[in-house]
């Protein structure tokens, strides 16, 4: 395998691992709760993109039946299974986000701040 082929095949995965790490960085290092939620949604997006990249086939078309291509050769269509799974995962991510904002609003109503160290101080 030449270096270029390697890059073509794996650059997407490697960059997605970087995105995953950025999201984790946001969750671990940032002290504002909304920033933490942003990090969380970045992590979720990276996992979703990871599945989508895995479904890609070179030279294949969108997974909607094209009468001109027929159904005999599966190599002509993208793998629809990861797409389906990730539709579910996106929905789950959105709902988790909604619930986390509800919690953030509850916290802000009680303590008037979203800075985590201050909150832990106030909770004592």
């Amino acid at each position: 395998m030449t270096a270029f082929e390697f890059l073509q095949g794996y650059s997407a995965y490697i960059l997605l691992v970087v995105v995953f790490a950025i999201g984790l960085y946001g969750m671990m290092m940032k002290q504002n709760l909304i920033k933490k939620i942003m990090g969380m949604s970045i992590v979720q997006s990276s996992v979703i993109l990871f599945f989508i990249v895995s479904a890609y086939k070179e030279g294949a078309t969108v997974s909607v039946l094209d009468p001109a291509l027929g159904l005999e050769n599966p190599d002509l269509y993208l793998n629809p299974l990861p797409h389906t799974l990730m539709l579910t995962a996106i929905v789950v991510a959105v709902v988790t986000l909604g619930v986390s904002f509800a919690l953030v609003i509850m916290i802000h109503k009680r303590y008037k701040t979203l800075h985590e160290p201050t909150l832990l101080e106030l909770m004592k």
């Binding site: 082929e5 539709l87 789950v92 988790t96 619930v99 919690l103």
Partner: protein, 98 residues
């Protein structure tokens, strides 16, 4: 403390990258998830869906057929997750306590 966290994160990403470069490359039509027959000579789900979704449900969009029929229970679970989120927000944020 901060340095330890960043080091842990860096180590984690390095390990992940080692794993990632052993996966089948992007766009490979013969990777285990994309091919027609698996190592046990059984059908692979992805190719089966492509070949049979139109005859089974007369619906050209394969993703819809998988979503609603082949893996319909996932979507029921998804609907219930959505419902759970709505119930959670309602009861967490409701102002009147009665």
């Amino acid at each position: 403390m901060k340095a330890i966290r960043i080091l842990a994160l860096a180590a984690f990403s390095a390990v992940m990258m080692v794993a990632v470069v052993h996966l089948p490359p992007k766009g490979d039509p013969h990777s285990p998830a994309n091919r027609v027959e698996n190592v046990l000579k059984g059908p692979v789900a992805g190719a089966y869906y492509i070949q049979n979704s139109y005859p089974d449900a007369k619906t050209p969009n394969m993703v819809t057929v998988i979503l609603a029929d082949y893996r319909g229970f996932d979507t029921l679970g998804e609907t219930v997750v959505v419902f759970a989120g709505g119930v959670a927000c309602l009861y967490l944020l409701r102002r009147r306590t009665a």
